[in-house]
Amino acid sequence: MKVLVAVKRVIDYNVKVRVKSDNTDVDLTNVKMAMNPFCEIAVEEAVRLKEKGIATEIVVVSIGPKVAQEQIRTALALGADRGILVETDEKLESLSVAKLLKAVVEKEQPQLVLMGKQTIDSDNNQTGQMLGALTGMAQGTFASEVAIDGDKVNVTREIDGGLRTVALNLPAIVTTDLRLNEPRYASLPNIMKAKRKPLDVTTPADLGVEVKSTLSLVKVTPPAQREAGIKVADVAQLVEKLKNEAKVL
């Protein structure tokens, strides 16, 4: 079956972002960028499905600026077969991303769409669910296990109380949680090979999607800062402080 994987270019997860001094946004100049970690997990899952002979073709799609080709190439180096960049320099809200992905889904007709549960910049955790609504596909969010079973997929989901398994009709959307798998690293030969894999560039206009924004960023501020407190000498002093100073015991 054909698998579509959606990946986003975001700030590297090791970078601690800073707010611009004029409070208009965060400062991303010269910041290291990478594939969103949950999207890496989605790519890995697709590659494993291909290695098991279940997936026949892996198409990876990203929506963003021209440089997002880097993240598509990374996915190709990890084992995806071909890439699609929906090129736009606009900052897109989740609903627009979902509408663009819907247009790609209609063209490609995948049996399974793999996405991250969350991007680590917006922390939205919305796009997969929205794509589900727009396409009418079932959704298995926060997946820690994915098992294809005929014309269904069983998804074990990480929920607040523990784990829940649902059975979804295919085609379906699965969004990945951290425990689904451990992504591999791309080998040098595969990175070289990825350069020759097809990567099509399209635009929102080509896809017939009008991108509109309904959320405006009024300001961005740093969170309340915590001051480092004191070091206590031993457990006795810790307990004394918690009882008499902090009064939390």
């Binding site: 601690k16 972002v17 800073r18 707010v19 965060v26 989740s94 609903l95 549960k117 680590i120 910049d121 917006s122 922390d123 919305q126 796009t127 669910q129 929205m130 794509l131 589900g132 609504a133 727009l134 009418g136 596909m137 079932a138 959704q139 969010t141 926060f142 990480e158 929920i159 109380g161 523990g162 784990l163 398994t165 649902v166 059975a167 009709n169 949680d177 951290l178 309904t214 959320l215 009024v218 300001k219 961005v220 501020t221 740093p222 969170p223 915590r226 480092a228 407190g229 070091k231 206590v232 031993d234 457990v235 006795a236 810790l238 307990v239 402080k241 918690l242 902090a246 939390v248 015991l249």
Partner: protein
């Protein structure tokens, strides 16, 4: 203004998170209606009717909603919700699952993990793992959002809302519940506990978490964990605190053998008092700790247990 709050419940009982969400709704101002969608969920609906500030409880009692499958909930909320100016759900794994689906069906955007209400159309929410706070104004006809429980007090009881049964059965028929493994614990729930003790990779294995359980039971505390401890299989996933796990803000948070990565801090740095026990005095967790103890946890935790 008319606000629809989607209740979080397990059919029998209403989850505490709903109370925080009702408070957020009251801050927006206007009529607050609660939707309880479930199966044989009369008890949860009765509980919702007693929340102060709620004018009406809508009950969608049908087998299609028993497990609150997102495909069915999305359709239900989109239909009921089109008559409201705001739709709110708790930022739990349930709310995060079905609410974006409803928003897209209504052709509107959504705000996740709202932590502040500035006005009826302007809200604050953390982005970049809480390293920045965005103030966002929405021009959508219906404002849809999940609410972070730790940012709002729980609504009091003492209400007497009318309860209205809805005759609805939205069954998309594309998904089904198969099974569930829920962690059973007599300890308080992580997101509601006054004291939380969390263990990290430094705990070395699951058995060593017994030390934390003992201390927790003396203090009536909940036990949490870092991602590293969950990934290593020491404890189940529902104990993870952080950017992509649970958000906690207790009176006291004790981090044991946790380094303090930004993704972990995102889940606990709004705690009132933070204690860190770590053998590495350079560990970043000390930068946010009110009381830091540089020690081997295998000495310090048993000592703490004895001192209580």
């Amino acid at each position: 203004m008319s606000i629809l709050v989607i209740a979080e419940h397990d059919n029998a009982t209403l989850k505490g998170a709903t109370l925080n969400t009702v408070t957020a709704a009251s801050k927006i101002g206007g009529d607050v209606v609660v939707l309880v969608a479930g199966s044989n969920c009369g008890a949860a609906a009765e509980a919702a009717a007693q929340i102060a500030g709620v004018s009406k409880v809508l009950v969608a009692d049908n087998a299609a909603y028993e497990y609150q499958l997102a495909e069915n909930m999305g359709e239900l909320i989109a239909e009921i919700g089109k008559n409201y100016t705001h739709i709110l759900a708790s930022a739990t794994t349930a709310g995060k699952d079905f609410l974006p689906r409803a928003a897209a069906l209504l052709d509107v955007n959504m705000l996740s993990e709202v932590i502040g209400v500035e006005s009826a159309d302007t809200f604050t929410r953390p982005i970049y793992a809480g390293n920045a706070i965005a103030t966002v104004q929405s021009s959508d006809a219906i404002k849809v959002m999940t609410v972070r429980g730790t940012a709002f007090d729980a609504a009091a009881d003492g209400g007497s809302a009318t309860v209205e049964a809805l005759d609805t059965a939205k069954n998309a028929g594309i998904s089904a519940f198969v099974g569930e493994e829920l962690a059973k614990s007599d300890r308080p729930e992580l997101t509601a506990a006054k004291i939380v003790i969390s263990g990290g990779r430094g705990m070395q294995n699951g058995d060593n978490f017994e030390m934390l359980y003992k201390v927790a039971d003396k203090l009536g505390a909940a036990v949490g964990a870092s991602r590293a401890a969950v990934d290593a299989g020491f404890v189940p996933n529902d104990m993870q605190v952080g950017q992509t796990g649970k958000i906690v803000a207790p009176d006291l948070y004790v981090a044991v053998g946790i380094s303090g990565a930004i993704q972990h801090l995102a889940g606990m740095k709004d705690s009132k008092v933070i204690v860190a026990i770590n053998k590495d005095e350079e560990a970043p967790i000390f930068q946010v700790a009110d009381y830091g103890l540089v020690a081997d946890l295998f000495d310090a935790v048993p000592e703490l247990d004895n001192a209580l």
